[in-house]
Each structure stands twice: as C-alpha cells, then as structure tokens.
Symmetry: D2
Subunit: 180 residues, 4 copies
Amino acid sequence: MAISALAPEWRISHWENTPQPLSLRALRGRVVLALAFQMLCPGCVSQGLPQAQRARAAFPESDLAVIGLHTVFEHHAAQGSPQALHAFLHEYRIAFPVGIDEQSPRGGVPLTMGMYGMRGTPTVLLIDRAGALQWHQFGHVEDMQLGAAIATLAGRRANAAEAATPTAPGCSADACVLPD
Amino acid sequence: MAISALAPEWRISHWENTPQPLSLRALRGRVVLALAFQMLCPGCVSQGLPQAQRARAAFPESDLAVIGLHTVFEHHAAQGSPQALHAFLHEYRIAFPVGIDEQSPRGGVPLTMGMYGMRGTPTVLLIDRAGALQWHQFGHVEDMQLGAAIATLAGRRANAAEAATPTAPGCSADACVLPD
Amino acid sequence: MAISALAPEWRISHWENTPQPLSLRALRGRVVLALAFQMLCPGCVSQGLPQAQRARAAFPESDLAVIGLHTVFEHHAAQGSPQALHAFLHEYRIAFPVGIDEQSPRGGVPLTMGMYGMRGTPTVLLIDRAGALQWHQFGHVEDMQLGAAIATLAGRRANAAEAATPTAPGCSADACVLPD
Amino acid sequence: MAISALAPEWRISHWENTPQPLSLRALRGRVVLALAFQMLCPGCVSQGLPQAQRARAAFPESDLAVIGLHTVFEHHAAQGSPQALHAFLHEYRIAFPVGIDEQSPRGGVPLTMGMYGMRGTPTVLLIDRAGALQWHQFGHVEDMQLGAAIATLAGRRANAAEAATPTAPGCSADACVLPD
C-alpha cells in the first residue's frame, strides 16, 4: 500500500535506546523507517527486526532514522512492561530507539497502532523527509524493495558497500578469484 | 567502487535466452544490471544468480534490464561451451539473457572481463540510463544496497510489493495478526 | 562431553504443556532429550528450540521424550514468570512439556542448572533409558550428531521419512525427476 | 523406503578422488552412504552434497564410507564427461570418492541407476556393514534422520562434537553464557 497523507504523530508511553523522546516532527528532514513489532512475534524476531538493523547499517543516519514501535496487542503481562522490552532489546543487540505504543484506556489495540490502522506485526512504515507517509506494509518485505524505497525517498543510494572483497586465487563459498 | 565512465561495449560470442544479440547501446534508456558469473562458481550459484533473479522480479523491465555475462576464466572444457551453459540455465530456471564473454585468441581472461578489469566472479556492474558505469562490485552485495542503487539510478522505486499479507488471526512464522 | 552418571532429578517450580509434573524417574524406559533454554536467549530461539522440535518429530514418543527446562539466570523480571513463558511457548508453537527450573533462595543460577553444572543456554542433555546422563553439551549441536546420539541410545532409527518425494519430471529446487 | 536385499554392485566408468576403483564388496565392514547426484541438479548442489559432506565429517571413516555416484540421465554433453565432473568437484571442494555411473549402450538411465530403480537425483542409499541395502530415499532427507540411520547401522554414535563452546559471559547469536 502506497499512501502519502501526513503521518500522524505517534503516541509513546516509554522510550528505550534514546536519551529523550522522539517525535515524528523532530525527525523531519530525514526519511523515517518505523517498524511496528512485538517481542513475542516470531516473524518480527526472525525477519522484521534483523531487516531494520540491516537498513540502519545500509544508509547514513543523516538520511534515514530507524525507529521501533512496540505495538503490544496481546500477552500484555508477558511483553507489555518496559523491563521486558529492555531485556529483549539488550539480548538481541537492538540499538536503535524503540518506543512502547501507548495502551488505550479502553483496552484493545494501542493508540499508534489504531491511528495507523495497522493489522498486525511486523508492519513497516516509511515516512518521507517532509513527514508524509509513503509506504505502509504489513508482513514480509523484501530487502531489495525496502532498499529501493528508502533510496527513492532519500534521493540517494546506500552507503558504499564495505564488504571485504575476496583476494585469494581460486574459489571460496563467496567468489572465484582470478589467478595473479 | 563507484565510477561513471561510459561502460565499454561487451564482447559476446554466443547468447542464450534472447532471440537476438543485445548490445549495451541498444539497452540505453534503461538501467542495466550485468552479473558476471561462471556456472561452476559456487558463490555465483548460491548468491549472485538468485540475487539477479530477485532484482529482475523487483523492478519493471522498462526500468531495469538484467543481463548475465558468462565470463569463463577457468575449466573451459567443463563450462565453456554453449551446451554446458544452456543446460545450466535450463536447470536453474534462469530466464534472463546471458551472453558468453568472448575468449581471447591469446587465452587468459575473456575480452569483456579484461576490458572491465574484473577480478573474478561474481561481479556486479550497474550502468545508468545514459550508458555510464556507476557501480562495479566484486563479491557479495547486499540486497538492500543493490535495491537502493538500482532505484537511485532508475529514479523510482521497485514494483509494489506483491506479498500476500497474512490474514488469519494469531501468529504464524511470518506475522501476528490482530483478532477480527 | 560424554558422561554416564545417573542424571540427578530436576527441580521444577512450574510446568507448561503437561497435565502433571514430570520426573526423570517417571520417564525411565525412554531416552530423554532435555533442552535447557531461556526465552530471551537468541541462540535458543533460533537454533536450540527448533532443533528440539525436529527431534520430537523424528523419533517415536515411545522412544524419546523431549523436555524443555526454562533455566532463567538473568532478566528474571522479564522472563521468569509462568505467564511470560506461557505466552512465549504459545507464540512459538512449542508443544512439548517445559518446566521452570526452580530459583535458588540464595539467588544465582537456578537449582537444576546448578546441579548439572551447566554453563549457559542452550544446553542439551541426553539421558538413556536407564536414567544415566550420556551427553551434556553447551552451545550448538549439529542435527546429524544429535540424531545419531539419540538413535544410539534408543537402539533404533528415526521414524520413516515422511517427505513427499518429487514426482513431476524435470528439476525443481529439491530434485531432478526421471522422465516417465 | 527401508529394504534389506543385498545391494547390487555398482557399475562405474570413471572414478574421481580415489587412487583406485572402489567396489561395494571392498567396502564391506563399513556402513556405506552413497549419494546419487548430478552436477546440474540444483537440489543436489544446495542440499544433497553438503549433507553428504556433513555425514562424512560426523562419523569416523572406519565406520562410514561416503561415496558419490554421478548418475547422469540428462544433459550428457554438459555434465557427462570426466572433465566436467572433475572441475565441479574441485570448485565445490568435494573430497570424497565419486564414480561416474556407466552409461547404457542403449541410452536412457545409466546402469547403476537402473539396477537400483532410482527415480531421480538426489537419491540416498544406505548399505549396512554386511552389504545389505537398508535405505533408499529419493529427494530431501533430514540430517536428524540420516544421522540416526547411520548410527543405527554403525552401532555407534557420531564423532564427539568438536564445536567450540562459547565462553564470553552474555549472549551471542549462539548462546548465553553464565557470568563468571
């Protein structure tokens, strides 16, 4: 789904990995990749969060802000507390800022999740430099397409590839190198 | 390595998967992803070729041409013939055009490989719509960065994600879905 | 490490996925694979637990009992409660019995973990039909070796392979089939 | 399929990775894992051959002989020659003995493949110490089940696990280690 309304400001009850709260407004000027996840969502742990980490490594921080939204809609006792999230982020080495989506006083889905009409986790949101929502995708996203979408919004490509290129002549699992 | 000289025309002795020879000149107007590979290069088979197939699926053909270059620099008897390549492409379901890089009469590396100064396989070349070489990378490339580079040159993002989004409430390996 | 002392009875404060507590004594006559894990241990989630599920599927229940031991030695607030474990097992579709290793009144490592001298999670224990500890391995174990060890203790091989064999002539990602 | 007739002697036109031809008779006393494959069979390259290499590493050579059978039934020009196989084995670092299944003078499936009634590649054969065929499986086999079957026939478990166990306190991708 591609859309371009102004992205509504998120509602966060607690932040991890940032010294101060982060508003969408304050992130204007950068592309924002927001990943809505739950720490007990297997697809978030095996796919969504590693992908967000790859995106964070692939683009300069001045171009792309990667933010996690802990949108807990089930198992509140198990995963709803700041301590549970803190332990999870620590063990999975997730270093980007993560906000806990504010629970509604009436129960049900948390506030940010509701405002955006999310259908579950993981959900990827891409917001352009002007604050407009450009992509809202529930479920699996390919790296190729996410990289393309970020670069299109950022107006520039990713960091130069840092991969050490093979040098020993012959074939390894990665490459075949010309003899000297 | 990012460079922007005009990409030299390739030298091809035989084509597969195309009714007629393809020149770089004739591909002007589209971004070109050329993957130099060998059918007996393990890293090409496990990584480079599947990635080229993903790129081909991710972008419209009017924006991106994906081309294989069979740059055989070893085991000529085993992998140098059109029949060997034909059988390989058939079994691996590779449907994009592949040209056999022309062997030099003096032996050694084939002509296109030599002109581009390639150091081995797999090597990715990205050529912009105007025919300038924009990226030359030996070894492993991340999907995130390749998608970003293609989108930057194409000036637009990838195809809309076609992934079927999960719908059954509860968690699967891919996602957790809100209850109805 | 291969050892054959009688395996000490575990100390469990709470069970999931079993109608009644399970003692090692009551499991005599079957081989026991006990996997010590923590729900916030990434290597347990990505490797140890899926492997235990594969072992459970590969051998008849009359030959092999697969048991999880939730040996929480850090982040007690986040992962120490029965509710947290219950939610985790539900979302990861883990159906074999799991016991929470009893916390020591003096803190530190839980009681079963201490008795067995475990050094961390995941740890695999293999106990023979007579109740003797035959294998104690911290960290990653290969499926090939675990399957071999279980079969050796069980005195028989795994279930017959149930894999649907390919039938359509030609090659798929899995196999090449003879023409009819 | 589990069977226990005496395994018929294979018919091999050329051997790689062995100084002299290998007969089933000469391998009596050891369990034999024979993998029928083709170098242009994607499932053989991505799954069957790496699995055979893992089996070879997991069991002592005195207990288990791992043998490849190059059962070419298509693309003879591309993959049927000793040179093609030799190059393939070299690039994929396959070090166990591989025999080329003898082509029939009448064409069609090669002789060993025909004698065993194989339906395609990859096919796993397990032959016990007395020379009886104990397992014949076309398509994918799980490591857990293959390890179990080999151990059952060998009458003993795999090599001691050699995996370096983690030692630095805290969690890595593989394990969580107790603090000192």
